[in-house]
């Protein structure tokens, strides 16, 4: 079975600083590798989490998939068809996205109904006379009262706005829904039902979910599989239960140790992760995690490890020289 979405060696560079100044100095224009050779697959109806710290490139991966940023190298294929920044209406519909900030995710000058109806009309999702009814159905789907169709975003709460943003994404009947930190700005009592909503949308609509988050507990709640990203590249990729119960990459392990755990007593400050990630402009040689890694050896400075699957489990991949062996003491 081929994957619904296949990301192969995805690289996204951002031009920073002045290209002209660099050329005058006889150097190549300065590039920031926001995403560096990331590969993963998403099966139909699967829910995949992409986790990492701020600046690790997880949002850029999402933006590349929906065509908001150009791809510098690698490919993104949807059902075997390569996607680029330019795509036709039919392809556009298939992947939709929910953004982070409830404050700016909706156009303040449109009512909820006009926000939804615009997409239904432009994409001719339903005949014209059925547009209002479909708007109502979308509100039902995201568990909002239909009376809010006449409301402006200003009068909605953060949770309601994110629900409308989800309804807007669902208006186009997408196969893949990408949620980029979609609940990060919400209070827990509001966040919880929205996480449940994501789960029920998957169950009821067979939606494929790509869930981008810094919050491990949230990812654990929503995702079947997790890709851990550090400084623009994938460190570990595997089923959620395995990543959480038996993390193989030292970065994943340290991240798990650092996260405050609700319901588990632990002392803060005992994680192996010291310091902060190095700059993406000045990556260490070899493995990019080695400068903070408790296991780092000579080989780690020489060669960058590939994502390698476990001998016993083809689903679980780790980019560490010692991922599947015990590190030398």
């Amino acid at each position: 079975m081929t994957a619904l979405l296949e990301v192969q060696g995805l690289t996204v560079n951002f031009r920073i600083g002045s290209a002209m100044a660099a050329r005058l100095r006889g150097q190549p224009p300065p590039d920031l590798k926001a995403v560096d050779n990331v590969s993963f697959e998403v099966e139909r109806s699967e829910s995949v989490g992409i986790v990492g710290e701020s600046g690790c490139g997880k949002s850029t991966i999402a933006k590349a998939i929906v065509g908001l940023v150009p791809i510098s190298a690698g490919s993104i294929e949807l059902d075997g068809i390569p996607l680029t920044e330019k795509r036709d209406q039919a392809t556009t519909r298939r992947i939709q996205m929910v953004f982070q900030d409830p404050g700016s995710s909706l156009n303040p000058s449109l009512t909820v109904e006009r926000t939804l109806a615009e997409l239904l009309r432009v994409h001719k999702i339903v005949p014209k006379d059925q547009v209002p009814e479909r708007c109502g159905e979308l509100m039902d789907l995201v568990e909002l009262p239909r009376s809010l169709l006449r409301a402006y975003p200003k009068s909605l709460s953060g949770g309601q706005r994110q629900r409308v943003a989800i309804a807007r994404a669902l208006a186009l009947d997408p196969e893949i829904l990408i949620a980029d930190e979609a609940v990060a700005a919400l209070d827990v009592s509001v966040q919880a039902p929205i996480l449940n909503l994501f789960n029920s949308l998957r169950r009821d609509l067979g939606l494929t979910l790509l869930f981008i988050s810094h919050d491990l507990a949230v990812v654990r709640h929503v995702c079947d599989r997790v890709v851990v990203v550090y400084l623009g590249t994938a460190m570990e990729d595997g089923p959620t239960e395995q990543i959480f119960n038996d993390p193989r990459h030292p970065y994943t392990r340290a991240l798990m140790a650092a996260a405050p755990k609700f319901g588990v007593k632990k002392e803060p400050g005992k994680s192996a992760l010291t310091g902060e990630p190095p700059s993406a402009l000045d990556l260490p040689s070899g493995c990019r995690f080695r400068t903070r890694c408790p296991l780092a050896q000579d080989i780690c400075a020489e060669t960058e490890p590939d994502l390698v699957e476990s001998e016993t489990d083809a689903e679980h991949l780790v980019a560490c020289h010692f991922g599947w062996t015990e590190a030398p003491a």
């Binding site: 710290e53 701020s54 709460s157 953060g158 949770g159 209070d187 827990v188 009592s189 509001v190 966040q191 919880a192 039902p193 996480l195 449940n196 789960n199 810094h214 919050d215 491990l216 507990a217 949230v218 654990r220 709640h221 929503v222 959480f244 340290a254 991240l255 140790a257 650092a258 996260a259 405050p260 755990k261 609700f262 319901g263 588990v264 007593k265 632990k266 002392e267 803060p268 400050g269 005992k270 994680s271 992760l273 010291t274 310091g275 902060e276």
Partner: protein, 324 residues
């Protein structure tokens, strides 16, 4: 010795919003012992940050605090104080966003040295030496070099450490923390939490830590206060409050937090919205959203009633939570 370090009774903050008076903090009472870490949990608009700021007199324009504030500045009995007088004399504060809380036109070393120079009358050289010592204390590597840097040259984690060093520079007995780790990554957050706990141990410093993140509070705090609609609805030892809530709001809040090790059971959530300060319900303010609300809840007046030696709840029917 069981003298408190800080006593807050019946604290009320009133403000004007478009000409309409609102009371976002309405009758908060709490006590804090020396060397204790008290967490205040609450959702946006619960009044937790305003409570913290009222203790230091740092309310936004138009905000008026009433109530009885007592602080044991000299190690004796808590005595009434003027909030703005304790700046640099016993109480200091760490803000959420170090980028906006640190003056961008001052070098990091001078920022930290400012407190000792102004409040303790140190000369320039001594204050600078003290700043470098403090930077070392909060775990900033190569402090001599970094003291000469500007705030924007530091990473988020280092900036927050500078904030902590600035707060410590006046040797406070109490540090107020307003969501100091919310803007940070988990690995850096963990380091800052570890640092705060370490400093508490070493200097017998008390901390009030305000956050919306229950998991963080559960890790750091000795006692936990839960705020809803401008009032403390429950207070007690952290583990007890988290695992055996005595208020339906606390219970609902805890059931909303995605657990780290649990299975993917449905999260609870709380129906409706956190209330707006302009329209708090009469009686128990949580009653309109409470699954257990009864007729008499609508008339219940607010009172934090002790349920045991160290716990109290404002719920008039805490027994509903004990039912299977």
């Amino acid at each position: 010795m069981s003298e408190h370090l800080l006593e807050v009774s019946d604290l009320r903050v009133t403000m004007q919003r478009r000409g309409v008076p609102i009371t976002p903090v309405d009758g908060v009472s709490l006590t804090l012992d020396r060397g204790e870490i008290l967490g205040i949990a609450g959702e946006s608009g619960s009044g937790k940050t305003l409570t913290l700021r009222a203790i230091l007199g740092l309310l936004p324009r138009g905000g008026v605090a009433e109530g009885d504030l007592r602080f044991a500045s000299d190690g004796g009995r808590p005595a009434p104080y003027v909030p703005t007088d304790v700046h640099g004399h016993g109480i200091s504060i760490v803000f959420q966003e170090p980028m906006t809380a640190l003056n961008p036109t001052m070098r990091v070393g001078d920022l930290i040295a400012e407190g000792p120079r102004i409040h303790q009358g140190m000369n320039k050289a001594d204050a600078r030496a003290r700043a470098i010592e403090l930077m070392r204390l909060v775990g900033i590597p190569t402090p001599e070099r970094r003291a000469r840097m500007w705030p924007h040259q530091l990473s988020g984690g280092l900036r927050q450490r500078v904030m902590v060093a600035t707060a410590l520079s006046t040797e406070p007995k109490l540090v107020l923390c307003d969501e100091p780790t919310t803007a940070l990554d988990v690995s850096v957050q963990d380091q800052i939490l570890g640092l705060l706990q370490d400093l508490r141990m070493r200097f017998d410093m008390a901390i009030i830590f305000v956050s919306h993140d229950i998991a963080v509070l559960g890790e750091l705090c000795d006692r936990l206060a839960i705020m809803y609609a401008g009032q403390i609805v429950e207070i007690g030892p952290t583990d007890d409050v988290i695992s055996r809530p005595n208020h339906p709001y606390t219970a609902a809040l805890m059931a909303s937090v995605p657990s780290f090790q649990g299975t993917s059971e449905e999260l609870q959530g709380i129906p409706g919205h956190p209330p707006d300060p302009a329209a708090f319900a009469s009686g128990c303010r949580f009653a309109p959203r409470c699954a257990f609300a009864r007729e008499d809840c609508k008339e219940a007046s607010y009172e934090l009633t002790p349920t045991s030696d160290d716990r109290a709840t404002s719920c008039i029917h805490p027994e509903v939570l004990a039912q299977p």
